[in-house]
Amino acid sequence: MSVDLEHYLIVGAILFATGIYLALAKRNFVGVLMGIELMFNAVNLTFVSFSRFVESSSPLDGHVFVIFVITVAAAEAATALALAVLLYRVRETIDVDRIDLLKW
């Protein structure tokens, strides 16, 4: 029994789908952020598995891209959580159901 590229891609697809569900369906803003981080991780896993298995002239480009994705994800998490804390300060809640001032 051997492990191929397809196995890793399926794992990445499952994680990505779970991340999309979390990002769309959770009520707490931190839950939405957890979904986004999970999506980043799924994409990183796909990059690294392509870099390992697929023919390429410069295979480590995948790893470099993963490092950039991790960096940007860290910056984005910091900013998003700062916004969450500010939102809590103003609205006393971080339920995405109740932050609906722009509702028509």
Binding site: L9, A13, F16, R27, F68
Partner: protein, 188 residues
């Protein structure tokens, strides 16, 4: 293709841990438990990187995701005491399930159906030095932009969370002399 028993067993165990923890993040009814399961899934993904012989990326993943971003998430939970902690779903439950299933099935089908050109080489020997060379040679512009991005994000986060107004200035003559040169005070 990895055929030795070791990496295959490791892959199945780690994939089970990762996917299981990700599904538990959806299912648990306590937000802090959900974050702990998310941390477990990050560590599982780090393990999967090691089976793909990506040692530098695996250690970076554990250092940044399990060590820093998780702490950010936990701090946000602590700093929002009246936010809902029961990890409930919003009113978009059903559309979200449909979208997630659609995306997952599409990705899975594309992954299984495409004919990837698999390389014959095995795993990498040591990735850190080559990643370093690539970062400073071919990808030096994104590298510098990423550092500026981090600086801007850090400053932005601090500015966003600063309290309203400034604190009133302290009268220097009533400060306790502690040996640090205070603002506006000349050293004796």
């Amino acid at each position: 293709m990895m055929e030795d028993t070791g990496p295959v067993v490791a892959f199945w165990i780690l994939a089970a841990i990762t996917v299981g923890s990700a599904l538990m993040v959806v299912a648990v009814r306590n937000l802090v438990h959900a974050v702990v399961y998310l941390i477990l899934s990050f560590v599982g993904i780090g393990g999967l990187y090691i089976t793909l012989s990506a040692d530098f990326v695996a250690v970076t993943q554990i250092l940044i995701y399990a060590g820093a971003i998780s702490v950010l998430l936990l701090f946000a939970i602590v700093l929002t005491p009246r936010g809902s902690r029961d990890n409930a779903e919003s009113f978009l439950r059903l559309p979200a399930v449909l979208v997630a299933l659609l995306v997952g099935i599409t990705l899975g089908y594309v992954a299984l159906d495409t004919d990837w050109s698999i390389a014959g080489r095995g795993g990498f020997e040591e990735t850190a030095s080559e990643i370093g060379e690539l970062l400073l040679d071919k990808y030096v512009l994104p590298f510098e932009i990423a550092s500026v991005l981090l600086l801007v994000a850090m400053m932005g986060a601090i500015v966003i969370v600063r309290p309203e107004g400034t604190m009133e200035p302290v009268d220097p003559s009533t400060r306790l002399r502690t040996g640090f040169a205070q603002d506006g005070e000349a050293e004796a």
